[in-house]
C-alpha cells in the first residue's frame, strides 16, 4: 500500500479516493470460493478440536427488549459452565448485553475470565446524535464493559459521508479509553453488512472501520437479514489480512447473526484457516456472535464423546 494512510481521512473525497481504489470484489467468485470452502469435511479429531475452539470463541448474546436481570444472570452462569454435566467444556469468550445490564453481567462474571461486551451507539439502527452515542458508550465503559460493539451509521456510509462514519468510530474509540491505567475497552465495529448490500461496500466499510481504529470488525447486529454469511465473512477476513500487511496492525473479525449449528461454526473456522491462517484461530482475534449456537456445539461435543445424541432437554436453556 503506497498511500500514506494518515492523510486518507482528511475529507470525504480523500476517503472516497482511497476506499474506491481498493481492489473490487467479484460477487460470483467470492460466493464460489466461500461455497467451495463450505464443502470441507471436518471429521473425528479435527471436529472435536474445532468444537472446543468454537465454544471458546462464542460471544453469548442476548439483545432483546425483554432482557431482565434474571435472564442475564442465567446467561452468565451458562457462559462460565456451558455444560453442567461436563467440566471439561471450556468457557465461552464473552457475553454480550445492552449497556444498562453491563454492571450486572460484570458482577456475575467477576473472576471467571469471561469478558463482558456491550452493544452501544443507539444499537441496532445507530440513528441518533454523536453525543448520545458517546454517552451510551461511556455508560457501558463506566459500568465495566471489556468490549464495546458499536454500529456504524449505514445511512452516512451509503450516501458517501465516509468522514462522518470515520469520525464517529474515532469518537467512540476515544470513549472506550479508561484513563486511570485500566484496560481500555476493545472496540468492535458492526458494519451491518446486510444493509451495505454489495461486497464492494463490505470491503470499503471494513477498511474504513480499521482506519478509524476498530479492534474488531463485526458483520451484523443480528437484527437484519442476511447477517453473517460465509462470503461476507470471507471478504472481511481478506480485509484484515491486507490491513495487517499494509499497516502492521492486526484486527479481529466477528461474524454474528444466523450462525446456529456446529456445521455453520466449523465452516467459519475453515474459512479463517484457509484465508488468514492460524494467527486468527484464537478468541482474541475471531469471535462468533450467537445465542442458540452454543447448545448445538454442546450436543455435538457430547455426541463425539459418547457416540450418542442426547435429547435437547439434556442441555440447559437460559
Amino acid at each position: 500500500m503506497t498511500t500514506p494512510l494518515a492523510d486518507v481521512a482528511s475529507s470525504d473525497a480523500t476517503l472516497r479516493a482511497f476506499l474506491h481504489g481498493l481492489p473490487g470484489v467479484d460477487r460470483v467468485g467470492a460466493d464460489q470460493r466461500a461455497a467451495m470452502l463450505g464443502t470441507r469435511s471436518i471429521k473425528t479429531t479435527a471436529k472435536a478440536e474445532a468444537i472446543d475452539l468454537a465454544i471458546r470463541m462464542v460471544d453469548l448474546t442476548t439483545l432483546e427488549g425483554a432482557d431482565t436481570p434474571g435472564k442475564v444472570r442465567a446467561m452468565c452462569a451458562k457462559a462460565v459452565h456451558p455444560d453442567p454435566s461436563d467440566p471439561s467444556v471450556p468457557k465461552v469468550a464473552a457475553v454480550c448485553v445492552y449497556p444498562d445490564l453491563v454492571a450486572l453481567a460484570v458482577d456475575a462474571l467477576a473472576g471467571s475470565g469471561v469478558k463482558v461486551a456491550s452493544v452501544a451507539t443507539a444499537f441496532p439502527s445507530g440513528r441518533s446524535s454523536l453525543d448520545v452515542k458517546v454517552a451510551d458508550t461511556a455508560l457501558a465503559v463506566a459500568a465495566g464493559a471489556d468490549e464495546i460493539d458499536m454500529v456504524i451509521d449505514r445511512g452516512a456510509f451509503l450516501s458517501g459521508g465516509y468522514s462522518k462514519v470515520f469520525e464517529e468510530i474515532a469518537a467512540i474509540k476515544a470513549a472506550c479509553a479508561r484513563p486511570g491505567g485500566e484496560h481500555d475497552a476493545h472496540l468492535k465495529v458492526i458494519l451491518e453488512t446486510g444493509e451495505l448490500a454489495t461486497y464492494d461496500n463490505v470491503r470499503r466499510a471494513s477498511w474504513l472501520a480499521m482506519l478509524a481504529g476498530a479492534d474488531f470488525i463485526k458483520t451484523s447486529t443480528g437484527k437484519v437479514q442476511p447477517a453473517a454469511t460465509l462470503p461476507v465473512t470471507l471478504i472481511m477476513l481478506e480485509a484484515v489480512r491486507d490491513f495487517l500487511a499494509a499497516t502492521g496492525r492486526k484486527v479481529g473479525v466477528k461474524p454474528a447473526g444466523g450462525i446456529r449449528t456446529t456445521k455453520d461454526a466449523i465452516k467459519m473456522l475453515v474459512l479463517v484457516n484457509e484465508t488468514v491462517g492460524e494467527g486468527w484461530l484464537d478468541p482474541d482475534w475471531f469471535r462468533l456472535g450467537a445465542s442458540t449456537l452454543l447448545n448445538d456445539l454442546l450436543m455435538q461435543r457430547q455426541k463425539m464423546a459418547t457416540g450418542r445424541y442426547a435429547g435437547p432437554d439434556y442441555f440447559t436453556l437460559d
Binding site: 481492489p23 473490487g24 470484489v25 467479484d26 460470483v28 467468485g29 467470492a30 464460489q32 470460493r33 464443502t39 470441507r40 469435511s41 471436518i42 471429521k43 473425528t44 479429531t45 479435527a46 471436529k47 478440536e49 474445532a50 475452539l53 481478506e238 473456522l269 475453515v270 484457516n273 484457509e274 492460524e278 484461530l281
Partner: protein, 474 residues
C-alpha cells in the same frame, strides 16, 4: 494449526471387477488383443485387467453399430429422448459410485469428480435428451438426418465427461457409436456400458472398445465409420486428420491449448487469484483449456504473485479419495515424465521456478503445484502444452500487448480476462482468437455452451446447439 483429519470417501461404494471385457452389441465379450492393466495413479496399485480390442474386434463393434443404426435412427426423437433421460437419471443415481471409480482410475480429487465431473455428465445427457425430438428446430433444416456410425476416441483427463460430450449428442441425433476410452482410464466407460444395459438401450447403439493407440486407429480408419470425433493431443489429431482425409468421414477434433489468463490492474484481485488457481491447478492441470499462461499487467505483478504464492501454500495435495484434497495424482508415469521434462527445460531456459513446501506421497505419480516467473514468450514453457500443474507467468503493459501475447500461440482453445471494466472485457473478447473467452471466471462449463478451438486447438464445436451439427448430415 487447524489440521484436518483424514476424511476419505469410501471405496466400497463401487465394485471394481478384477477383469473387464469389451462392450459390443450389448454384451461384454473378450478381446483378441493382449489384455492390459489399469492402475490407480495415486498408489500404482493395479485396479483391473482390461481386454484390448483388435482390428477384428473393432470391426465387430462397427458392424453391430451399423445394424443398430437402422432401428435407432428410425425411432422417433421423442423415443430416443426417453432412453437418454433414463441414462441421465441413472447417472445421477449412481453418481457417487461413478465419482469414486473416476477418482481411483484417474487420480483426480474426489471433490472435483463429485462436484464437477459427475454433475456435468448428467447435465449433458439431460440437455441432449431434450434436443432429440426438436432437431427440426435446431437451424439445420426441417428434418436433419444422422450420419451413421460415429467412431469416437477420448482422452484420460475427464474420462466420463468426455464420453458424455461425445455420446449424448451422437445418440440424440440418431447415430450409433463405437467409443474408445483412453488406455489409462477405461473403467468409468465400462461402468457406463453397464448403465446402458440398465437403461435397456438397444444392443449395438453404444459399443465400447478398450485398448491403446492401435485400437483407436482401427476405430478411426474403419471404412464403415461415417464420423470421427477425437479429443486429445494435437499430435494424434494431425495423424487422424491425415488418415481420414478424402474418406468422406465427417471429423471434429478437440486438441491442445495454451490458454492465456489475462489479469488487468483493476481486477478483483482475490477472485482473480482463485480463478488463476482454478485455471491451472484444477484436475492437476490436465485440462486442454487450462489457463497455463498467466499474463499480468506489470503494475500489479508483484502484488499478484505474492497473493498467488500465499494461496498455493494452502492447496492440499494428497490422497485423491480424501474429500479435502485439492490436488490429486498425475495420471500416468508417462505424463509425469513429460511434466518433469518441460519443467526442467523451463529452468534451463532461465525462468525461475517456485513451488510451495509440499510433501509428495512416496508411491504414485505426483507433481507439486508450480509457478514459473521471469518467463519470456520464447521459452518452451510459454509455448508447449505441459498438461500438468505448471503455470508460466508473463507480464504486459497495455491491453494491445496483452492481446498480442495471448494470440501469439499456435493454439486457440480458451482465454480468460480479469478486469472490473465491462467495456474492456468486450474489447478483449473481440480480439482474442480463442474458442472460449471467460470473463472474471475460468474453467466454467455448461452443456448449453459450445466448446472448441481455433488453429491447432482443433475444429468443430461440442456442446450447445452447435454441437448437434457434428452429428447431423448438414
Amino acid at each position: 494449526m487447524f489440521e484436518y483429519a483424514p476424511a476419505p470417501e469410501s471405496r466400497d461404494v463401487v465394485d471394481v471387477k478384477s477383469s473387464y471385457g469389451l462392450f459390443i452389441d450389448g454384451e461384454f465379450t473378450d478381446g483378441a488383443g493382449a489384455a492390459f492393466k489399469t492402475i490407480n495413479p495415486a498408489t500404482e496399485e493395479t485396479l483391473a485387467e482390461v481386454a484390448a480390442a483388435s482390428e477384428a474386434d473393432v470391426d465387430r463393434a462397427v458392424r453391430a453399430a451399423r445394424r443398430a443404426f437402422g432401428t435407432w435412427s428410425a425411432m422417433p426423437g421423442s423415443e430416443r429422448a426417453k432412453y437418454l433421460f433414463r441414462i441421465a437419471r441413472i447417472i445421477q443415481e449412481r453418481s457417487r459410485e461413478l465419482a469414486v471409480l473416476e477418482t481411483l482410475d484417474n487420480g483426480k480429487p474426489i471433490r472435483e469428480a463429485r462436484d464437477v465431473d459427475l454433475p456435468l455428465v448428467a447435465a449433458h445427457f439431460f440437455y441432449y435428451a431434450g434436443w432429440a425430438d426438436k432437431l427440426g428446430h435446431a437451424g439445420y433444416g426441417p428434418d436433419p438426418k444422422p450420419l451413421g456410425v460415429a467412431g469416437q476416441v477420448i482422452p484420460w483427463n475427464f474420462p466420463l465427461l468426455m464420453l458424455a460430450w461425445k455420446v449424448a449428442p451422437a445418440l440424440a441425433c440418431g447415430n450409433t457409436v463405437v467409443l474408445k476410452p483412453a488406455e489409462t482410464t477405461p473403467l468409468t466407460a465400462l461402468l457406463f456400458a453397464e448403465i446402458c444395459r440398465q437403461a435397456d438401450l438397444p444392443p449395438g447403439v453404444v459399443n465400447i472398445v478398450t485398448g491403446a493407440g492401435e485400437t483407436g486407429a482401427a476405430v478411426v480408419n474403419h471404412p464403415d465409420v461415417n464420423k470421427v470425433a477425437f479429443t486429445g493431443s494435437t499430435e494424434v489429431g494431425r495423424l487422424i486428420a491425415r488418415s481420414v482425409a478424402g474418406s468422406g468421414k465427417k471429423v471434429t477434433l478437440e486438441l491442445g491449448g495454451k490458454a492465456a489468463n489475462i489479469v488487468f490492474d483493476d481486477a478483483a484481485i482475490d477472485q482473480a487469484v482463485e480463478g488463476i488457481v482454478d485455471g491451472i491447478f484444477f484436475n492437476q492441470g490436465h485440462v486442454c483449456c487450462a489457463g497455463s499462461r498467466l499474463l499480468v499487467q506489470e503494475s500489479v505483478a508483484d502484488e499478484l504473485l505474492e497473493a498467488l504464492k500465499r494461496r498455493l501454500s494452502r492447496l492440499r495435495l494428497g490422497d485423491p479419495l480424501d474429500k479435502n484434497t485439492d490436488i490429486g495424482a498425475i495420471n500416468s508415469a508417462e505424463q509425469l515424465a513429460r511434466v518433469r521434462e518441460l519443467s526442467d527445460i523451463g529452468e534451463a531456459e532461465g525462468a525461475e521456478r517456485w513451488s510451495p513446501a509440499c510433501e509428495l506421497p512416496g508411491r504414485g505419480f505426483w507433481f507439486p503445484p508450480t509457478i514459473f516467473t521471469g518467463v519470456a514468450q520464447s521459452h518452451r514453457i510459454a509455448r508447449d502444452e505441459v498438461f500438468g500443474p505448471v503455470l508460466a507467468m508473463l507480464t504486459f503493459r497495455t491491453p494491445a500487448e496483452a492481446v498480442e501475447k495471448a494470440n501469439n500461440t499456435p493454439y486457440g482453445l480458451s482465454a480468460g480476462v480479469w478486469t472490473e471494466k465491462g467495456s474492456r472485457i468486450l474489447w478483449m473478447a473481440d480480439r482474442l482468437r480463442a474458442g472460449v473467452v471467460w470473463a472474471n471466471t475460468f474453467n466454467k462449463f455448461d452443456p448449453t455452451s459450445p466448446f472448441g478451438g481455433y488453429k491447432e486447438s482443433g475444429y468443430g464445436r461440442e456442446g450447445g446447439r452447435h454441437g448437434l451439427e457434428a452429428y447431423l448430415d448438414v
